[in-house]
Symmetry: C2
Subunit: 110 residues, 2 copies
């Protein structure tokens, strides 16, 4: 099945998935030449090992809780937590509970 990406101006539902989180996959919600917006689902215990991305990005916890680490600095992110990161910063994530996060990633920086 083709994945639906929203069009400019289209209403996108990013409310908590609740019980559906167990069967929902990470999905891109919107993508252009300059920006990609995706909801990442991380079930409890799931890790994203240290990595970095070229572009700046924001990450917002929509539900659950995740531990977000930059080097030795660790923060717990729950609903209503947001971080904005410069490009190229190594970081890692681990889900403490079943969690979904919204990532807004800048693609082609000048």
């Amino acid at each position: 099945m083709a994945i639906h990406h929203a069009l400019s101006g289209e209403l996108i539902d990013i409310r908590p998935l609740g019980a559906a989180i167990e069967t929902t996959r990470t999905a891109t919600l919107y993508k252009t030449q300059h920006i990609e917006v995706f909801r990442m689902v991380l079930l409890a215990g799931k890790q994203m090992p240290e990595h970095h991305v070229a572009g700046e990005f924001t990450i917002q916890c929509l539900e659950g809780s995740v531990e977000f680490s930059i080097g030795t600095t660790r923060d717990i992110m729950g609903p209503g937590s947001l971080k904005c990161l410069a490009g190229g910063v190594p970081h890692s994530l681990v889900a403490i509970e079943d969690s979904s996060v919204l990532v807004t990633l800048l693609l082609h920086e000048a």
Copy 2:
């Protein structure tokens, strides 16, 4: 008083303001050469007349509800509603309830 902008990686609280919404102003949370993230407070009845911005942006309702219009297309955005817009699209907003929204705006597009 100087307005504090978050640093890269800093934890930012975007939970609903609740009763404090009446005394909270729109504020930039994070700003770089490429991106500006701000929380806009719109009390009930407040309008933002039709306008456009050069860069692409996303807008997410954090609390309350706003009517977001693009031409004759109107959508009600409540908590967990997101829209991603191309640059240059004329749009307008009116707050139905006391509301706060998170805007992520791309500044210098290639």
